[in-house]
């Protein structure tokens, strides 16, 4: 009985993934440092990839892992462009927060 209840099911991974996603979402809403906000986005992306891998094993389907590869590539491209914007912004105003993003206008 104990071994049965302590058996790790895919549901555990899914709950962990949703918790990570929630923490990332809260961080994105609460923090004002653009770099930390970006890290929270990475956190949310990773929670989703964990979910994809879990479903991949649960359904015995390689499609989920394939999607994770594409998510990785898109995340890398996103980080490169996003950090480029943040560098351009913080070079002008090192103490800039998310409230100062109007600086990017024109």
């Amino acid at each position: 009985m104990l071994a049965e209840t302590l058996h790790v099911t895919p549901a555990w991974y899914l709950v962990l993934g949703s918790l990570l996603f929630g923490i990332g979402a809260v961080g994105l809403l609460v923090r004002r440092n653009p770099l930390v906000m970006f890290m929270c986005i990475e956190l949310m992306l990773n929670a989703v990839t964990l979910t994809f891998v879990t479903f991949s094993r649960m359904l015995d389907d390689i499609g989920g892992q394939t999607v994770v590869v594409f998510v990785l590539v898109v995340a890398a491209a996103e980080v490169v462009v996003g950090l480029g914007i943040i560098v351009a912004l913080l070079r002008k105003r090192p103490e800039a927060t998310a409230d100062d993003l109007a600086l990017l206008e024109g």
């Binding site: 709950v15 923490i23 990475e42 015995d60 394939t66 990785l72 943040i86």
Partner: protein
């Protein structure tokens, strides 16, 4: 029992790192907490037979993306602790907590309502593991057959990202701010050439001296780099 232990440890590391990202006052600490989370997720990938993705996760995320974050933090000198007690918008944290808890509750409720199977529909691309193959065999087969076009498109995406990053992080300077390291040497050389041309003009054409000088000044204007 082993999987339970792995899940408990890796899950705790993941959640601890995630909380560290959100709650760290210093961006460097947040980046290091992110590494902990990414490693924990890589371990969970291994536990779910996604060995190739676990390796890619460590190499790309922990090895490249977080290092890029740290580079930017150190390079711009923004690695100062910020005061998190200040809350510029009243009630924002409570609202964010409510929204976050709501998102988590919604996802868990949706999964639980389907008995943790979601739709249960497979993609039809292929099985996770056939007889005597590993995840990387099937993954590469899917990537290079069914998803070949998308795979090639990602290379274009990466190229665009590289060009975009170079354009955006380039510092545009005004022409008079540009420091040319060889400028003085070239100016000396040009002055020497002008002197030689003037002396020759004296030798061969005594009446045309002012004209020769004007010409040499014009050439000086052209040749001096801005």
């Amino acid at each position: 029992m082993v999987e339970l232990f792995v899940f408990a440890v890796a899950g705790a590391v993941c959640l601890g790192g995630a909380v560290g990202v959100v709650a760290s006052r210093n961006p460097v600490h947040a980046a290091l907490s992110l590494v902990a989370t990414l490693f924990g997720i890589a371990v969970l990938f291994v536990a779910q037979e996604a060995n190739f993705l676990a390796a890619v996760q460590v190499i790309v995320y922990a090895g490249a993306i977080v290092v890029l974050f740290l580079f930017v933090i150190m390079f711009l000198g923004v690695d100062k602790a910020e005061d998190l007690r200040v809350e510029p918008l009243g009630g924002q944290r409570i609202a964010a907590g409510v929204i976050g808890a709501g998102v988590v509750a919604l996802v868990i409720a949706a999964l639980a309502s389907t008995d943790w199977e979601a739709t249960g529909v497979t993609s039809g691309v292929g099985k996770l593991a056939k007889e005597g193959t590993y995840d990387i065999d099937n993954l590469s087969e899917a990537l290079f057959t069914r998803y070949l076009f998308a795979f090639e498109l990602t290379s274009v995406l990466l190229l665009i990202a590289v060009v975009g990053a170079v354009v955006m992080s380039r510092r545009v300077r005004k022409a008079d701010e540009i420091v040319d390291p060889g400028q003085e040497e070239r100016a000396e050389e040009i002055a020497e050439r002008i002197a030689r041309a003037e002396s020759r003009a004296h030798v061969f054409d005594e009446d045309g001296t002012p004209a020769a000088r004007e010409e040499s000044e014009a050439s000086e204007d052209q040749e001096v780099p801005v």
